[in-house]
Symmetry: C2
Subunit: 315 residues, 2 copies
């Protein structure tokens, strides 16, 4: 994903993905609606395509059928030869890459929004792989200025790690991660919030396309350091659960010596780092299968350069 | 389930069920712990057996494998001849009925606690099939008096309907339904609450067994009228979602003319009854597959007779 690829040019084609995880229902419900009636997505300067990313998992209200679709966009998966025995999500990733990419090509869609929910208390989290996505960082800044509720920015890319996400297919992208909402449940307040955030993102693209100038700014974002795992017995049973003092404290500082896990014996396990970190995805249901209790993030301030005004015509 | 069967006699054998639904993790986690270390369940006057009711579903963190175990205790299922093609939960129901019943027999366990979670805002809901379970109603009364948080009583039995639940295997029983907690997630606060409620219920049995007298009282409970379904299109797609004004209002009055559903068009659907009802299990994830948006309950006050002091010896 390279933000400079679309900077200086108008964005023509935008996709909105729901159901990348089939049990995260805000995006599923909204995209199903927009497939019937896309009028609220329309803007003057570009087209918007709503798309149900994992329809089989959506139908069964499961995160995925064979493997996580949102981890299936590595080169190895995208280039693997199709056989009848292919995992469903590998075939689907290849299909999505053909429809909205191919990744890294001039033909790729200009922007993908990917709609997600979390069981964690993440508010309206804005997700990108890196602060180097200047266009996306400007969009985040615009959304933060135009909404009343907290919209922390989470940057998930690790140094040297290949991008594996659906969003990476397009030239630029933004993930919207709204919670808390149980998987398999649709809360009206969460869907309304997601709808408003997406509208704000679309407005930003429209303004950019019309030549609005967006100056430089400094912005706080949270960058992934590593995952923190639940304490487990040798046979894999969970020995401890997220400490009640940590529960729901996503994006708040966790200081050295503060509790992170509670054992049923009453014993506590404490954070042993040297500096405060900022946890996110605390007690996310989907991460239990990987044994992940939360993600450790660092809070940083980034200086984002101004956004070039786009050329009047399509490149 | 007949409360009078155990009244007048000491209770000797009590079971605590977790994982009747395999993705309701408070009970799963607590029962796994108690299987290793049952000390906190022990009371002087009776034995307590912790039991993981649906281990296969628990292992996969699903509600069930083939069908809902907690709907598998009808006569038809319990008496069906076992074949290799049997649904897992039917076989499991028969096994549980052998271990803790047989239902309606003198051999049946005296009491079953069944531990559940809900995604709905149900607080610490106490579940029985009928106010006619005098022993259970006394236990509910005792728990309500000895805990600080709301413990509404939900009575799920409908006139003429056969009892289908796991709890029905024992002579008396109580379901603990704690929420909100997403399925597949374990919140420390919810588990601690469940543990405290169960301890209170066990204390009540211990006091009863020791000859404590429990006088008559009046008590409020919520009795099931019927399920309310989501509005759906002819092809089964959800057309509306639970209205934000109804969300999280479990056990609060819903008055005629108040909104219950919101369509994506913005249109609202209103409750059209003649009298206030009390909704529960509002937007429960597990009920989506049945299309159920919430349960309609009536609030009633019941006069519960005194509990006979038990005979000193086992009947």
């Amino acid at each position: 994903m390279c933000s400079t690829a679309s900077m200086g040019h108008r964005l023509n084609r935008v996709a909105v993905m729901g159901g990348t995880h089939g049990n995260e229902l805000s995006g599923v419900y909204l995209v199903k609606h927009w497939l019937q009636d896309p009028s609220e997505l329309q803007r003057r300067t570009f087209t918007v395509t709503p798309f149900l990313a994992n329809p089989k998992a959506t139908k069964r209200c499961m995160r995925y059928i064979s493997q996580d679709l949102n981890r299936s966009f590595t080169k190895a998966f995208l280039l693997s030869k199709g056989t009848k025995d292919d995992l469903y999500e590998v075939s689907r990733a290849q299909e999505i890459n053909q429809l909205f990419g191919p990744r890294g090509s001039a033909d790729a869609f200009d922007f993908i929004f990917d709609l997600h929910n979390t069981t964690s208390n993440m508010a309206a989290c804005l997700i990108s792989d890196s602060e180097k996505n200047v266009f996306t960082m400007h969009m985040c800044h615009y959304i933060q200025k135009h909404t009343q509720t907290p919209c922390p920015i989470y940057l998930y890319g690790l140094p040297g790690q290949e991008n594996y996400s659906l969003m990476s297919v397009a030239k630029n992208s933004l993930g919207l991660e709204l919670g808390p909402q149980p998987h398999g449940v649709l809360r009206a307040d969460v869907s309304a919030h997601m709808r408003a955030l997406l509208a704000c993102g679309l407005d930003f693209i429209d303004l950019f396309n019309q030549g609005t100038s967006f100056p430089a700014f400094d912005i706080v974002a949270y960058k992934l350091i590593e995952s923190v795992h639940f304490p487990r017995s040798p046979d894999g049973e969970f020995l401890g659960i997220v400490h009640p003092q940590l529960q729901d404290k996503d994006f708040l500082p966790l200081k050295p010596g503060e509790p992170i896990f509670q054992l049923l014996s009453g014993e506590e396990i404490f954070y042993e780092g040297d500096v405060p970190i900022y946890p996110a995805f605390i007690n996310e249901a989907a991460y239990y299968e990987k044994g992940v209790a939360f993600l450790k993030l660092e809070k940083r301030t980034f200086s984002i350069p101004p956004l070039e005004t786009p050329a009047a015509s399509t490149p």
